[in-house]
């Protein structure tokens, strides 16, 4: 059942992403990408990352995409002619992206067992249950402390300094965006 839902969502994600890069206007590209992000949020739920799924909908499909739509509407580009590159660039794109896809697609064959075998690099294969104990612990923590608590614990303990640096990054981004976009300061 879970796998069937995953495959439906995966097909939706790939189809909307293809429409995103092929659609003529920037407006429809942004809207197709929003659909991709929403299907990815649903896939995150299937992968036991409910908090990340909620953030994906709120931050990505909500805030970031609204920012894109604002800019597209602000520029008022109208019905632009197609902005695809010429045939030579299309051929190069197919070759480069195709090779990349073929190489990355080897990841398809990975299972927890194979990953464990390659991580131990011993003649005997490692036991996934012991090697990936952190994953099991995280699942238990999600049951005990809730899905938000399971993410919050490492975020505010191990990754506290990066988390605080993130606030500085956001402040710099706010100032930078205002300075760049304003006509006269």
């Amino acid at each position: 059942m879970t796998e069937a839902v995953f495959w439906v969502l995966a097909i939706v994600a790939v189809a909307t992403a293809s429409m995103c890069i092929l659609s003529r206007s920037a407006m429809s590209a942004v809207l197709w990408l929003t659909a991709t992000m929403l299907s990815l949020a649903a896939i995150y739920v299937l992968l036991n990352a409910e908090f990340i799924a909620a953030i994906q909908v709120l931050v990505y499909a909500g805030a970031v995409m609204v920012l894109f739509l604002f800019v597209v509407m602000l520029l008022n580009l109208g019905h632009a002619t197609t902005d695809m590159r010429g045939p030579a660039a299309v051929a190069a794109t197919v070759v480069i992206a195709g090779l990349l896809a073929i190489q990355l697609f080897a990841l398809w064959t990975y299972s927890p067992e194979r990953l464990a075998a390659e991580m131990t690099q011993a003649p005997q294969t490692g036991d996934p249950a012991t090697l990936f104990a952190a994953g099991q612990a995280a699942r238990r923590a999600a049951v005990e402390h809730g899905v938000v608590g399971a993410v919050a614990a490492p975020l505010f303990q191990v990754y506290l300094v990066p988390f605080e640096l993130t606030s500085i990054l956001l402040l710099v981004a706010i100032i930078g965006a205002v300075v760049l976009a304003k006509r006269k300061i």
Binding site: T2, E3, F6, A10, A13, V14, A17, C20, I21, A26, A29, V30, L33, T36, L40, I43, L47, A49, F51, I52, I55, Q56, Y60, V64, F68, L74, L75, R85, T93, V94, I96, A97, L100, A101, L104, F105, L107, W108, Y110, S111, P112, L115, P128, F132, A134, G135, Q136, A138, A150, V151, P154, V158, Y159, L169, L170, A173, G176, V179, L180, A181
Partner: protein
């Protein structure tokens, strides 16, 4: 036991591979700066999917990384779109053909 551990690991990694390649194809294919930006967001999302898929095995650190990637992506989108706005004010265009100030 191991079957119930991460049954969707391989398919999720494969899906993120396809989405990342689509993002690369979009960046190579289009000339509209905004669509280029959209394709970069698509690639960031593909990487996030990889993090979430492997977080099933390696604990919640992967999900924390997704949190940081989202923050950086939001900052990048804000600054990048501001740059696009100011370029559009100068050139009246978002086509990469017309934005060649740095070409020698």
């Amino acid at each position: 036991m191991t079957d119930g551990m991460a049954p969707l690991l391989g398919p999720a990694l494969g899906l993120s591979a396809i989405l990342f390649s689509l993002g690369v194809a979009g960046v190579l294919l289009r000339r509209n700066v905004i669509v280029l930006f959209v394709c970069i967001e698509l690639m960031l999302n593909a990487v996030n999917l990889t993090f979430v898929a492997l977080a099933q095995l390696h604990g919640a650190s992967g999900q924390v990384m997704v949190f940081f990637v989202m923050t950086v992506a939001a900052a990048e989108a804000a600054v990048g779109l501001a740059i696009i706005l100011s370029i559009f004010r100068h050139k009246q265009s978002v086509d990469l053909q017309n934005i060649n100030l740095l070409r020698g």
